[in-house]
Amino acid sequence: MNTAYQIVVCGSIVPDPLQTLEPVTGPAGPALKNEMMLPAVLDPWASHALYEAANFAKHSAGSKVWLVSLGPKAKLQQVMMTVAQKVPFELIALDGPASGFTDAAEVAALLTEAIQSIPGLDKAKLLVFGGWESASRGAGATMQIVGERLGILDQFQGVDELKLNPDGSLEILERIEGGKHQVSRCVSPPALLGWATGNLPEPKNNPQVGMVNMRTAMPALQKAKPVKLAGESLTFKSVSLPKQLRETKIVKDKSADDIAREIVEWIRK
């Protein structure tokens, strides 16, 4: 059984995870303070999806990977300079906000449109990948809506593994409660997979892959379509940081016995 797949990965950028984030409220609703100054990375779960896609494509001759990304063009360009060396893909860039405060459904509508505009798209070969949640909105809703809009009825979230069975069916491991995985089998594409971490290590930087990717990524960035989100269905009442510091009670002069008793009481509570 040899099928060439068309794998479309949806993934945008998020602030580098170690940055200090602070919400501010602007005329267009909440945003991050100095959002454009914060270094960005490809959303971690979407990165896993991308690596899994590349790996899957590598093992099915003739397959191809696209990365559909909605974000501010300048930031996307910068992030591509680390991502593009990892695995081969063709970039489809949409120039718009990457904020977590946008509505998942609106983002999904734009992503769907971008996917549908891929020339020669064949649903019988189509696998739509993405992160199961973003590190910004963290809703885990965008991909389902993309799938629904594309009419894909076989969807999986929190995916940690995708295997191709000899008969061409797909075997998928999804994260469920209690640290377990649900194992499902889907007869054939199209299917949509929202990835958790998967099993692959981060691919090494490959300069040749980078050179090839940039041949299409630069033009894609240059002609990235500016898009706007209406943001009308969602109203934010407030966005705030949690209280950072606790009031620490320092217990200094108690005997070890008393302390142990207090701790055991607390454990059993």
Binding site: D16, N205, P207
Partner: protein, 608 residues
Amino acid sequence: MDVDIVCVGFGPATAGFLTTLSRQLLKADGTPAIESTVTPGMPPQILCYERADDLGFGVSGVVTRARGLRETFPDLDPKQIPMAALVAEEKVVYLLDPIGASRRSWTVRAADACLRAFKGLLPLKNDALELPWSPAFLHKTGGLVLSMGQFMQWVGAQIQSTGTVQIWLGTPVSEALIEDRNVVGVRLLDQGVDKQGKPGEGFMPGMDIHAALTVLGDGPVGPVGQQIDAQFGTPENHHSRDWAVGMKFVVDLPENTPLKPGTVLHTFGFPEPEIFGFFYVQPDRIASLGIFVPSWFDSPMRTSYRYLQHWMLHPYLWRYLEGSKLRSWGAKTLGESGRRGEPHLAGNGYARIGEGSGSTNVLTGSGIDEAWTTGTQLAESVLELLKAGKAFTKENLEQSYVSRRRTSWLESEARVAEKSRDGFQKGFVRGMVGMALAGLTNGRLALNGEPVPPYQRIPTLEEYYRGRISPEEIDQLGKECRIKGVSLHSALMQRCGWPAIPYDGKLLVSHQDALLLGGKVQAPPGYADHVVFLYPELCQKCGTKICIELCSGQAIAPGQGGVPAFDREKCVHCGACYWNCSQSVPGNPERMNIAFRAGTGGLHSAEN
């Protein structure tokens, strides 16, 4: 892989190079103005490899006259660049020691006593004297206060959007490829190796990138620059022996701060006379501030972090800083040898630009503009050679690039600066006088004092603390710290009267917290350690272990059997360990016992 030009490092020097170059590679109609030799029909293929994980993570520097920058960007508007402001006010401030713990020579002490005695006459406030006048050579009038990180992102985006240059991030160059004394390209770092560099899972040997021209802009401690120096030697009497590590905080000033954007303060005198401080105010109540700890501060207990905290707590500064919040933190080496450290600027197939080419001017305290300008000069030369169809030979590069550099303001100012700091070799007061003399007489006068290699200047702990802490006590404290696996300077400084730092969780935080909250330091797995102790037996015998004390990230800690342990995940690639070692290696009096190689990771802040 074959390309036309490969650049090592994306600092201001390479940014100047690529900005100038990328503007002239395409005609208005988008067709190549110059053709590539490796992919005919296309413009030259130009790659730049930067080891840091993002644009602007590996740089520092904030106030500049911006002469070179303005030549490239005549309409430069600071408002386009986040955190940039025009210089508005400059002050030089002498800080007295309000604590009495700093080590001041009798001359400094006498001067301090005078200042305090004439308190009524002098504008002495907050234990500091604002100099009523400062020499013109220090002025940055008309210049800019910048966040180099933000500036580099701004420039980087412009360069890349031309589509003619690719700047690959998180990709260190391990070495230059040399064939028959020609540099023919670079080799990237091996991936998928263990700490010692042994191949492991997913091993991918560093790829060779062949290029007609290799541009070295890897900064003051760049490993490729080191390799070239080792391979081709340095011009006679040129050596890099003067160094400093600059450590900085970027902070949010309190809401009611009286400081205006564009304010520039330079301090000296405290926490130790040898330590200089800077404080630059940016828009939106942001300030960048920090200190320089130089190699000629003859102390085995050099630590930048602890000193930086004491400096911030000086009453003159603390009145501005109280209530501030840490945004970013970082450290980086400054090559202070300037023109005296200048290597061969070009050879067959390569050219050197930026601080690693000796461009930094210590007298004027300026490196960015100079680095940038070396880059633009090289770019103009490269365009000239490409258009003339000439090869990148040593001769051709010397005729174009080197001669351009020699006839520019870079050279004349570097000559003035060349000897200006030698006075510091013999003490702080002499140094200050020497610097003033050289600056005011355009280099005609200077106080001599040939710099010696840094390791020769490091006294033993016992010598340094003679009369203050007994050898037995030093030994005892040393043992305790080794058990805890921590450096020794805090214990010794405390013992000498430096008060404990009153942590507030906002600005005054532990060193580890600064790494995380400010520097956001991290390192990807699968790369070899880039800091290596070359001769472990030298470490075993080493008494000061200054590498541990000085390490900007606490990445070097006491290790097994007396050999320090290195933790890549805390290293900020400041390069200070490269010149902070108390032992030279056998057979090379200019090289010390730590190898500083190409490595990944480090700071993840784009605000420094």
